[in-house]
Symmetry: C2
Subunit: 697 residues, 2 copies
């Protein structure tokens, strides 16, 4: 029974659903002329940024295309790899672009709908999030289907070469994702920090005040960072987990006559397809009444995600059964373990970052003794919060490995680990929808403020936005957890690739007492630190340029503070754009160059060490940064809600410092690390043939 | 030619030198009655703290003695291990105690000597540092000698059992060191942060003002944290590096008939002994004129350390030649690589943390846009600063491994890595002297302030203190670098131990694709994060209790602010003591329990993964924390020196926040991690026999 057709079918259904939902969103009115004008300014800024970003990225892709072309010509790669690389990047970028388009179209519409009621506002924002979510999964499955059918039926390659080739197009998606996350992340946080530092702290005007010259840039940032950046990011995670599972599946069953390798590939592909269908059904369950409390709203969103997760958990059972048979049902256990791990990591994130729980409440309390103790407490909270996710991933890895039969056949165990990542991401369509709706609500709030709508509208959008922070935390848990599992699967894929290239396994001594592995571990573990340092510093630099510009406008534009003159919004957008684009290049180049340099020096064992080190330390840093940043953000909100003297108190000032520190951690450096650790593996795989042949030690 | 006698001889010479130097320090006058009184209060506070610390630690040691005794009775350990454990802890504690005694005796004497001139002040402070430095190396070599001769000649054990047994007494030293570092670190930073937050920030009185109730506690902290804690810490590093090199040497030459294992043990032992002698000679080169600029003073200290390092580099050549012969001269290369790596890591630390260089200058500049951007920049600086030390360690590991012949015999290569750590630490006597003199000068400045001496005296002690920050940075470089190399050597020792216990190597599959190793890596890498989180949080909690107490005294003691009434210093000392002791227990218990728990669950391969993960992430975090903290501290000093508006400016307020954040990072959490990563290995070695027999996976 060939179920591979499910994948293109699900891709088409997802994209039809996207079209249908987008049309429905666009039917809503964007509200008053003023609202449409603001929304238009945001939309133009975001489009202008993305256009320039894609031009810069295009240069990188052309260069890499040439490099890969030369390598293919020299026999180190098959000739379709350069093309696969480009399509991966193209679809990843397209996901981000479409997400951004709908988000900027939906922000004013959400604000306008929120005038009529909370439920209506939620529908519009959530629908926009759904467009984004299903664009990502739809284009992902489309890209996978195209290459699968092309390679298998047009080029008539055997299945192991099909999956091997598909692995390489992950590199295109990962590179694109890194550019989008880093560039968008720098843009959004530079604008946010810059706007806050001068506006809130120095001039004492509220957030989203139209007199602040950086306010449009701040709203543009939400769209290019939190929407377009996240879209490209999760496209990469999604596709990466499916192709690494497929490649490992073929390797695992290569010597098992009873099971055809195609069946092992079908499982992740078909599971992803089913996940899309259940996610679509899940979206219809998201609706709420007029009560605005967090719990009801969260319940509405959770109904959708839980339904989808349970449905896929049920459907995976017959899928594994029919594909592999009773003997390999342990692999179903891996699916379940991945799903549970994703939910648990999300719950941990929520526990550590929501002000309904003790850690963030305590953090808020430490603001009473000033910014210093607040920052210490936040760093401590973030570091401590790594423990539970590490244990969850550890248990998930062990359970997936051993249930799948890793004790006797370690390839099967590694396949199990990869499958658990696919399980975790199978319902990405809806989890991403609940995640991406946050920035839309955030933007809607900004528009409500700038357009001077009834405060009740802002209250409603704030309720939506605040909920968005919680769902974003859950989303981050999934992103980080799946990144770690996928990265491990990719290391295994790399090892398989090297062994098949070298023809025997003796080239690899992966013992951690091998100094090449050890040194690789050290270098790899250092990369996320360096990468985070560079991206944080970029935000700092870019934010400082915004501060200088905003101060200048306050000083030079007469009547600005009195609301008689308009600030020059475009200049701030332009500054953020040029800083972000300039600053995103070095980190990405380091990510691409490191595995090649390490490989040429230390050989393939060193590369494996490096990948292991980067995965481990990257996971820790990503969790630390996401949670410390999230907790500072919510501690500030907690104080703004009236605790410890509320807005304007000393505690609040300290909390604003904490929030400023946390911003680049949680929205720029942290999320980029998830992509980094996978891009390192992807690059290693593509350059494996060169490294196998040339290395110093 | 048996050169082992060098070790006890050097131990005796070092201890005689300690006695001689201590007498010379005590001959100086402690100054006025007021100075003696203040010094007495500090001394009593420190002694009271250490007494209580040792009582708490004694309970732990008794418990562990019983546990180890039961294990010995059950046949899992040889019966002298519990005793070795206790002596390791005893000598480590004794080193700290003697160091603290001389430091508290020398503080007023340094202040008084500084009245007569800078050079005299330097002599007293440096002599006190030398007492501490040579106590550590003297007691270290004494302990090593006693056990070596006892086991070898009284118990007539073969050499491999001698080194095996000596490894286990490292666990005692490491446990003691961890208690001392964590407890002392919490004490000193709680007092420092607490005193600053209320005194400097709220009440607006200067540092070391006698009206501040926490001022004595602050000065006590310097002694129990920076002196006693560091003494115990480096005792552990020193002894640990020598015994792990010895054990690996015996294993490496076990199958090489031409070289007796004893010769392989003699090299680290004799090199340490020669290092002590050259260090003593080096101390005589440390003197200065009356010019107070940093450069001259630093030149004076460096003359001593460079002389010792060059002398040991020269002397190691004939040592290796006569012991092992021409064929193994590559091991000499390992010695040199260790020495160079130590110097280079120190130079990197200085580059990133001294305000003579760009990074800290830029950091100070970022204070202009507020505490938020300053903290971001500092975090970024700290993370970026991990890159060069990682590369230095990587190169040092590769050079030591391959030069020592690791390509053909990996045991020889691992021996080379261990020897490079010994090379790095061979001149510990003098590097520790230059490091430990800092807190003495710091205390002297406090006494000068409190006793109302001529401002010129304070200016001189400030010059000494400020230099102390630079030498402390260099010292930290050595401590971190040697910790990483020693930890790697200990992992190799653990592996050897397990193989010898199990009788064959098949029990170990150390491939990073083995899920046990992989999960071990994740868990191990997480431990330094959790450990740092707990210790930072402890500082925060303890500091908050000091803040509350100081506020209370300001409020309730009439006439305190006018200088008419005295504050209750003892209460603050007592509060710090009880907080520090309460808070130091959990982190230490985690450090001891983790390897046992990991081993029982994942088996010996999992333990190796855990140790590797902890070493890698611990090294990164330790460098990050030390450098971020050091840079914030010096950025604040840079601003206090007049940059960006100087003291009292907004930039300065931001810099104070940065300094507060950096304090626990650089003086509590960061340094403790160095001990943690070695203690994990030591505990693993001691419990190896149990884990080999019982494990789940």
């Amino acid at each position: 029974m060939d179920l591979m057709w499910l994948t293109p079918a699900a891709a088409v259904i997802a994209l039809l659903f996207v079209g249908f939902t987008a049309r429905r969103v666009l039917k809503y009115s964007p509200g008053s002329a003023k609202m449409a004008e603001i929304s238009g300014a945001i939309s133009r800024g975001a489009a202008a940024y993305l256009k320039r970003q894609y031009s810069v990225v295009a240069v990188f892709f052309i260069l890499m295309f040439v490099v890969l072309g030369i390598m293919a010509f020299a026999g180190y790669l098959t000739y379709y790899v350069p093309f696969a690389f480009v399509t991966g990047g193209f679809f990843s970028g397209l996901s981000g672009f479409i997400g951004m388009k709908i988000a900027t179209a939906a922000n004013a519409r959400t604000a306008n709908a929120a005038r009529e009621g909370l439920n209506r506002g939620l529908r519009v924002a959530f629908s926009a999030g759904a467009v984004m979510g299903f664009t990502v999964v739809g284009l992902g499955l489309l890209d996978l289907s195209i290459w699968y059918y092309l390679l298998r039926y047009a080029f008539r390659l055997p299945i192991e070469e099909v999956t091997g080739a598909m692995l390489t197009f992950g590199m295109g998606a990962s590179s694109m994702a890194l550019f989008a996350r880093v560039g968008g992340g720098i843009f959004t946080k530079a604008a946010d920090v810059g706007a806050d530092l001068v506006g809130k702290v120095e001039a004492g005007i509220p957030e989203d005040d139209p007199r602040n010259p950086a306010v449009i840039a701040d709203n543009v940032g939400d769209n290019v960072g939190d929407v377009a950046g996240m879209g490209a990011d999760l496209y990469e995670s999604y596709v990466g987990s499916i192709i690494s599972a497929s490649a490992l599946g073929v390797a695992a069953f290569a010597n098992i006559d009873a099971v055809d390798g195609i069946r092992a590939v079908t499982i992740p592909m078909a599971m992803a397809a089913l996940g899309v269908l259940f996610s679509i059904l899940g979206t219809f369950l998201v609706r709420t009444g007029e009560k605005t409390d967090q719990k009801t709203l969260l319940g509405a969103l959770r109904r959708g995600t839980y339904f989808s997760a349970i449905a896929i958990a049920v459907a995976a059972f017959p899928l594994v059964w029919f594909m592999l048979g009773k003997e390999y049902m342990g692999i179903y256990g891996a699916v379940i373990s991945g799903l549970i791990a994703g939910v648990l990591i999300g719950a941990c994130t929520e526990y550590f970052t929501s002000d309904s729980y003790k850690p963030t409440k305590r953090l808020a309390g430490s603001s009473q003794t000033g910014a210093g103790t607040l920052v210490i407490s936040g760093l401590s909270l973030g570091m401590l919060s790594t423990f539970a996710p590490i244990l969850i991933i550890a248990v998930s890895v062990l359970v997936s490995f051993f249930l799948s039969g890793g004790a006797h056949n370690s390839d099967l165990g590694l396949y199990g680990i990869a499958i658990s990542a696919v399980g975790m991401l199978s319902t990405l369509g809806i989890t991403l929808a609940t995640d991406a709706y946050g920035p839309v609500a955030d933007n809607a709030g900004g528009i409500a403020e700038m357009a001077g709508l009834d405060p009740e509208v802002r209250r409603r959008t704030d309720a939506l936005d605040s909920l968005g922070n919680t769902t974003a935390a859950t989303g981050k848990g999934f992103a980080i957890g799946s990144a770690a599992l996928t990265a491990l699967a990719l290391i295994a894929s790399y090892r398989d690739k090297v062994v098949s290239l070298a023809g025997d396994a003796s080239i690899l001594d992966l013992s951690i007492m091998n100094p090449r592995v050890l040194v690789g571990l050290f270098i790899g573990a250092c990369l996320p630190f360096v990468f985070a340092a560079l991206t944080m510093d970029s935000v700092g630099k870019a934010a400082q340029s915004i501060v200088v510009e905003v101060r200048r406008q306050f000083r030079e534009i007469k009547g600005l503070m009195e609301g008689k003159a308009k600030p020059d919004y475009e200049r701030c957008v332009g500054l953020c754009t040029s800083s972000a684009l300039r600053q995103m290049i070095l980190p990405t180049v380091i990510a691409v160059a490191s595995p090649v340099a390490t490989g040429l020096l230390l050989g393939v064992s060193g590369v494996c060490g490096m990948l292991g080190g980067a995965t481990v330390s990257g996971f820790l840093l990503a969790v630390f940064m996401a949670n410390a940043g999230g907790a500072w953000d919510n501690a500030k909100k907690h104080i703004e809600g009236g605790a410890y003297g509320g807005k304007g108190s000393d505690a609040h000032k300290a909390a604003v410092v904490g929030d400023t520190v946390g911003d680049p951690l949680k929205d720029t450096s942290g999320p980029s690390i998830n992509i980094l650790i996978k891009l390192l593996s992807m690059v290693s795989i593509v350059f494996a043939a060169v490294v196998v042949q040339y290395h110093l030690l």
